[in-house]
């Protein structure tokens, strides 16, 4: 147990309190604790970009320890894109540093009178002027402040309250989703810098022993081998083979130019790998384009960014994708929402709803992609419309533009296609922060995690459950996975070695938390904490008027079936040649309502998607917390 610091940028007041132990027992820390604080501090009357909103930096219970991948920092806020619950999460070193400095959470409220940054150490917290940093991009800002400690900052996009702006830590790690960068910009807060004086010294021997065992296991786990070798770009090829590579704003689900953007192509630009704090995998990349018009060096790109900035706008030039990723990072933009918003703009232009005096807005035109990135970040021209994300942009454009907006609850879809990856499709619909691949990360079927499926589900449903195209038991996967992910986020470890592939299991985490807390925590108890966090976040949205109507998908996925083709690669051109017949015909979401019915039933929620009083009582979510 450590401290929670409250920093009021309006008054300059800093209050540090010992964190309430009961809060940690109920919500663990990290995302769970952040959600609890958000619920208490930012009600329905709070405008997300007003001084009354909160921006909570929190560290999970394992953060900054010797547990492998215990790097993940978390931010929680009322989201300006959804108007309700918002959070984002990233690796690097910032989150671990916050924990090592002795903080469970740093709660920022108010608004400074001029740009500032907050400097945090074990013994003091100071609000310092940042006038000279305002307007600067991420690298120059980081270069200045890294002399003091680990840096999380915004770029010009956040300063301009671009709603798809994120917070970038450790230069290229993005706490990207939901508009946290805009919230930070609205407070005139350029950066938070943390310097820990010491390591976490409160770790029990049993915890350190389990952490050491896990470090050894993950260092040699064959399930992580491709991630270790190629990073997340390894997904590009197999997503395309599966028909789960959204392209042309989800008008298609495969690209013929997959070899041009594959992991092996990216590998030619990667002189070294990057690891986060305490990570034995090092899936991060450092990419360098040595010369030409896109000459640059940058962290990434990862799979989601490659997909969002490549296939979505139909760009096949890897160097242009790397450069687009760099520009998003430097400006402080969420690459997923930016790529999806650009694809939205291109489809609007295709239908005569949008035009730009300087850019062609044609599919595959990398200059249009790069031009729109700059215009969005600076709110220039049509960039001012697009800076608010696809939902709000579609409302302003009108004429049916909303049918091209690939979003749920205002947040743009990540890079899976709901029709083909149906578990993800349901998860995108139900995620409490909007369309979200990480709220559940329901890979059990698509990644073939048969051993885990056997452990958590009845034998008689396994064949249907593991069929990616069978919708019947997708709610079962999503509910279980949402609980696991909530626990992982509350502990502050990486999903890529846990929820995604079960290289770290809930059993491992229960053992680790038992050792840390000095009392037995069963797997069921651990997953119930995850369930409690999900229900708390749902109740936050319910307070803001959300219900079943918001657990939806863009109409395209319900009414526009796609075919999936087998591609052979032409050895001369490297381009894919589709088979004579598709391997799957007419793939579409068949019955979202039926999936929602089962999802709500499994959760103990009403048919309107609202947790019942009985469910809240079972989860020990006291009513006093929820009436506001």
């Amino acid at each position: 147990m450590a401290n929670t610091a409250f920093v009021n940028l309006t008054t300059g007041e800093v209050i540090v309190r010992t964190t309430n132990r009961e809060d940690l027992l109920l919500f663990i820390g990290g995302r769970g604790y952040g959600s609890k604080l958000l619920y208490e501090l930012a009600g329905p009357d709070v405008d997300p970009l007003s001084p009354e909103n909160v921006l909570i930096f929190s560290a999970g219970a394992f953060c900054g320890t010797t547990w492998p991948t215990s790097s993940r920092g978390h931010i929680t806020f009322k989201s300006p894109v959804t108007g309700a619950y918002g959070h984002a999460n990233s690796g690097g070193y910032f989150g671990a540093e916050l924990a090592r400095a002795g903080y469970d959470a740093l709660v920022i409220t108010g608004k400074a009178s001029s740009p500032v940054y907050v400097f945090v150490t074990d013994s003091k917290i100071e609000i310092r002027p940042a006038n000279d940093l305002w307007g600067k991009e991420i690298t120059p800002t980081s270069e200045t402040l890294e002399k003091l400690g680990r840096v999380a900052c915004i770029g010009p996009a956040g300063e301009n309250r671009v709603l798809i702006a994120g917070v970038i830590n450790d230069r290229s790690r993005a706490t990207a989703r939901g508009g946290g960068g805009a919230v930070m910009g609205s407070k005139l807060l350029k950066a938070v810098v943390v310097k820990a004086q010491a390591s976490r010294h409160d770790l029990p021997e049993a915890f350190k022993a389990k952490a050491k065992e896990m470090m050894g296991r993950l260092s040699s786990d064959p399930r992580l081998e491709d991630l270790r070798r190629y990073g997340t770009s390894i997904l590009v090829d197999i997503q395309n083979m599966s028909g789960a590579m959204p392209s042309r704003n989800h008008q298609r689900v495969q690209v013929p130019f997959v070899q041009k953007i594959s992991a092996k192509t990216l590998d030619q630009y990667v002189p070294r790998h990057k690891g986060c704090y305490a990570c034995p995998v090092h899936c991060g990349r450092e990419s360098v384009v040595p010369d030409g018009e896109y000459a640059c060096g940058t962290g990434g790109p990862e799979y989601e960014s490659i997909s969002a900035l490549g296939p979505m706008p139909w760009v096949s030039n890897m160097e242009a994708i790397i450069y687009s990723n760099l520009r998003c990072n430097e400006l402080g933009l969420d690459t997923i929402s930016t790529g999806v918003t650009i694809a939205f703009a291109l489809e609007c232009a295709e239908h005569g709803l949008l035009k730009d005096p300087e850019l062609s807005l044609e599919w595959g035109d990398e200059k249009s992609v790069l031009g729109l990135i700059e215009k969005i970040a600076r709110r220039e021209g049509i960039g001012d419309i697009l800076a608010d994300g696809t939902k709000k942009a579609a409302e302003r454009i009108g004429f049916g533009a909303e049918r091209f907006a690939m979003q749920v609850k205002g947040l743009e879809l990540p890079r899976q296609d709901p029709r083909v990856a149906k578990s993800f499709g349901l998860a995108h619909a139900t995620g409490n922060r909007g369309a979200d691949h990480l709220y559940a990360l329901p890979t059990m079927d698509a990644a073939g995690i048969w051993d885990a499926a056997r452990r958590y589900f009845p034998a008689e449903i396994l064949d249907e459950l593991m069929d990616t195209n069978n919708e019947k038991y997708k709610p079962d996967i999503v509910v279980h996975s949402e609980h696991f992910c909530a626990v992982v986020d509350a502990l502050g470890i990486c999903k890529l070695v846990s929820a995604e592939n079960y290289a770290t299991t809930p059993e491992d985490l229960a053992e680790g938390l038992s050792a840390l807390w000095g009392r037995d925590v069963t797997v069921q108890e651990l997953l119930t904490i995850g369930e409690r966090i999900v229900n708390l976040e749902r109740m936050y949205n319910v307070r803001h008027g959300f219900n079943r109507k918001d657990d939806c998908l863009p109409e395209r996925f319900l009414t526009e079936p796609v075919d999936v083709w087998e591609y052979k690669i032409d050895p001369e051109t490297g381009m894919g040649i589709p088979s004579e017949k598709p391997i799957r015909n007419g793939v579409v979401i068949q019955n979202l309502e039926r999936m929602l019915d089962r999802y709500y039933e499994l959760r103990g929620w009403s048919k309107e998607g609202i947790p019942t009083q009985q469910t809240l009582r079972r989860l020990d979510l006291r009513l006093s917390v929820y009436e506001g």
């Binding site: 491709d226 991630l227 990073g231 997340t232 997904l235 197999i238 997503q239 989601e304 890529l496 087998e566």
Partner: protein, 93 residues
Amino acid sequence: MKVKVRYYNLVADYLGRKTEERFLEDGATCYSLVRVLSEENESFRRLAFTDEGKISHRLRIFRNGQMIVDANIRLADQDEIQMFPAVSGGCYS
């Protein structure tokens, strides 16, 4: 010997079937089974093997419920095999 094999998702799409019983020579390994299957379909071969000729991590194989780590493991009569494409390795923020 006879083994029961169940194919899932993209593997089933490529091979055109979801389940079968296969008769294998005594001493057959996981590797030899995948090698035989790869001769049926080029896309399956591309999924199943690395450029170096090893079984790819993109193909996840279970034998009687346990994930196969060593492809040279010998199969036994009445084994139940599951083969999945492993679509994983995403990223997040």
